[in-house]
Amino acid sequence: MRFFPWKADEHRWVQDRLSLYLDGRLDPHEQARVEAHLRACATCARSWETLRWTVQALRALPPVRAPRPLVVRPEQVARAPQPAGWFRRAAWAMAAALILVLGLDLARSMGRAAPGPAAPAIEAPRSMRAASEGQVISPIPSPAPMFGLAVAAPTPTEAAPAAVEAPPSSAPLLPLPLLRALELLLLFGAIGLLALDRWRARRP
């Protein structure tokens, strides 16, 4: 090859294909080109012979056996379903809590629809501000007039000024925005935990 300097990178080309040549993975044209070069170039021919020798020796390596039987013991996988199950159980607990809270919500708005002693007057002032904000964002039809009645009803003399000062309260237990936030939290929490559970289950 030293007589053909313009073909100097032929060595590189052949070297890059010796491994494929060894496995018989060259197309006939490439194979012929490699063989022609190996006949002409002693350096590449030597490289080829040592490479072939190395691979033959690797293939002849004696098998190595496991020093002891490798098995999976029950206690090694007993914990496996636990975390995945935990996510799912937490998701169901959240879903149950969501239904409970939604039920409370529904019961309350029904309580509004039927004015009466449903909302204790004492609770009203504490949650008034929050409640009025809640009514702005709430999609539920505003129960304000009816609620004014409900608040004012038990003790007109004391509760009336409060009802005049601010829009009437709607929350006997929780202010409305807090309730809505709790509902959203539980909803997305349950969805998120279910997604986590699926993700864990899909991992190998």
Binding site: L51, T54, A57, L61, V71
Partner: protein, 202 residues
């Protein structure tokens, strides 16, 4: 190459393992154990690490066996074992030890003079262990990606296509990694020619 002989029995064992039968799974593992262990040992380099990687792999395989949907179960297990080896190597890298292999720097070009030894014959088998030790070190001197491909191709006899499937890399990547791995292993042997058994001097 790794397709199992008694495939209908294996199918039954797989079905049983998929419904949670650990005994059935362990029977499957036993059938593939030696082959898989050899892969792990050649990739990891020592028995302790190989056993650790195998243990991790088997646990992962049992946990994930429901995701096996036909094809070669042996190749599927091989994929899990090579992944476990990568994980174990990563873990070991985080707590590195002084590497003996760093002392064996390949500094010789393949153009060195040589006489080719016979690969067959009684002398070959007599000196097999010495050669095996040196070859093992040559494998360990390779970068991980090249080592894994070399082990799967030349130790386990998987085809390029099977390796691409197992490692989920393009076939061109398999070809180039294998080519570089073989060249490098050869250069390692040439660089440590004096350690080769007498009749095998390259």
């Amino acid at each position: 190459m790794a397709s199992s002989g008694s495939s209908s029995e294996e199918t039954q064992l797989i079905a049983a393992a998929q419904s949670g039968d650990l005994e059935a799974f362990n029977e499957l593992a036993r059938r593939h154990q030696d082959r898989l262990y050899h892969i792990a040992y050649r990739i990891m380099g020592d028995h302790d690490s190989a056993a650790d990687a195998m243990q991790e792999a088997l646990i992962a395989a049992f946990r994930g066996i429901r995701k096996f949907r036909g094809g070669s179960f042996g190749a599927w297990l091989t994929r899990i074992v090579t992944n476990a080896c990568y994980d174990e190597l990563r873990r070991r890298r985080r707590r590195p030890q002084s590497s003996l292999e760093a002392l064996f720097v390949v500094d010789q070009s393949p153009e060195a003079e040589m006489t080719l030894p016979p690969v067959e014959g009684p002398e070959f088998y007599a000196e097999r262990q010495e050669l095996a030790d040196l070859l093992h070190r040559a494998i360990q001197s390779l970068p991980e990606d090249q080592r894994v491909v070399l082990v799967l191709a030349d130790i386990e006899g998987y085809s390029y296509e099977e390796i691409a499937e197992i490692l989920r890399v393009p076939i061109g990547t398999v070809k180039s990694r294998l080519s570089r791995a073989r060249m490098r292993a050869r250069d390692f042997l040439l660089a440590h020619r004096e350690l080769l058994p007498g009749r095998m001097r390259l």
